[in-house]
Amino acid sequence: MSFDRPKELLKPVRRRFIYLSFVVAILIDLLPLPVDTALWLPDFIALLILYWVINQPRRVSVGTAFTLGIIADVASTGMFGQHALAYSITSYLALLRQRQLIMFNLGQQTLSVLALMLANQAIMVATRMATGSAFVGWSYFLPPLTGAILWPLLTKLLLLPYRSHKV
């Protein structure tokens, strides 16, 4: 498996496709899964935000991340503003280095995504602890790992509809 970015010509990404991917991520968040899966299931909304911020920075930016964060807050029965804060800061960090991240191959990108997702979790832990919750343990930092492992797969999957086969 080559970790190089596809060098082929891609069709322009439709706005509809971006929205659809976010809806799917929210649906995954609402799935009635057993409690234990929350220990390792990655935060798909955050992963997708990172993907679109890196690949389509003009369409998906800090504002979109914030809006999705509010939705995630309600869906996860957490506190208002917790996901919103984490997503906006993380997407801004990704946006700062977007020119660099887009040139990386998939292996390098995976490592950067891991760091960004860890930062995301760290912000959430910090907000919860600031509002009076106890530390939940280091297992809270496991989902970013699985998320980073899934990154190459996610990239290939989201590129599938935009390969122009007729060139």
Partner: protein
């Protein structure tokens, strides 16, 4: 070639830094508003109504699979189950008859002793929609809400014992905080001895705190709700004592316990009515207690 990545020659709205500043300020305002003042309840309710069809839609394949599974059970399993249920019903009926006579005696004793009876039997069945994916809190969402007159504070049980308490009611759904949540405390009584204690959730489990070192607690003891809080009906099983540690260093014993109910399992829960007709609390005397040197005639409260 990534066209979307090429720099734009036209300035496109605010710079990312400004956007971040606005979003962070908004998030922090929301966080403070929600955690300190509870301002966001109406917004949350509105959004939960929008989410309801989504939740239903995502639940649909699972529900359909269950239905099909129910439909395809063979006759022999049904017959066997029927047999078991019938036998169980016989046993339960016999028990109910005995209970009824005991209850009758109990009621008459209560009236003899001029005690108010506090019983409420009505309950409504609800299905668990999904579990909150927030690892900081232990909550479940059930499919009944304001539409069936639920309100915050009602206890929630399953067939084995207490699960938790409704903490937030939305138009079509309600949020149940489980007894394992850090913010929930249940006044309990050890059934064997009648010793009262308070059961604290600590995130994933429950423990009884502040029991004196000489308290009579043994592993295997059942803790039931004591009913002195005016909220939970008395006698609902809550947890089993699994281990008792007496540490000479501390003034209290350490009681580890396990909930009797399937707090993290199961599909259906029962929402009970709160205890009604709780007498009003005695009013605190407004004046501080008289000092020693004072004569009783000076004091207007006496």
């Amino acid at each position: 070639m990534d066209f979307a990545n090429n720099p734009s020659f036209i300035r496109q709205g605010l710079s990312p830094g400004t956007r971040l500043a606005i979003c962070v300020a908004l998030s922090v305002a929301l966080l403070i508003g929600d955690s300190q003042y509870g301002l966001m309840e109406y917004t949350r309710q509105g959004m939960s109504v929008l989410f309801y069809p989504l939740q239903r839609a995502i639940n649909f394949p699972l529900v359909a699979a269950r239905r099909i599974d129910d439909f395809l059970t063979t006759q022999s399993t049904l017959q066997a189950e029927n047999e078991v249920l019938r036998r169980q019903q016989m046993v339960l009926l016999a028990r109910v008859q005995r209970l009824e006579s005991a209850e009758h005696d109990f009621e008459s004793l209560r009236t003899l002793n001029q005690l108010k009876s506090v019983r409420s039997d009505s309950a409504s069945l609800a299905e668990i929609l999904y579990t909150g994916r927030d690892p900081f809190s232990y909550k479940i969402i059930i499919d009944k809400g304001q539409d069936t007159q639920l309100h915050a504070g009602q206890p929630v049980v399953d067939d084995r014992g207490l699960i938790g308490q409704i903490t937030r009611v939305q138009p079509l759904t309600a949020e149940v905080t489980l007894i394992t949540d850090k913010t929930l405390m249940v006044p309990v009584m050890i059934q064997r001895t009648g010793l009262r204690a308070i059961l604290y959730g600590y995130g994933g489990g429950v423990e009884a705190r502040y029991l004196p070192i000489h308290a009579d607690v043994r592993p295997g003891d059942l803790m039931v709700t004591s009913g002195i809080d005016g909220l939970y009906p008395e006698g609902v099983p809550v947890a089993f004592v699994t281990r008792v540690e007496r540490n000479p260093d501390s003034a209290f014993i350490r009681v580890t316990s396990m909930p009797t109910a399937g707090v993290q399992k199961g599909r259906y829960v029962l929402v009970l009515k709160e205890k009604t007709s709780v007498p009003a609390r005695p009013v605190d005397p407004a004046a501080p207690p008289p000092k020693k040197g004072k004569t009783p005639s000076d004091d207007p409260t006496e």
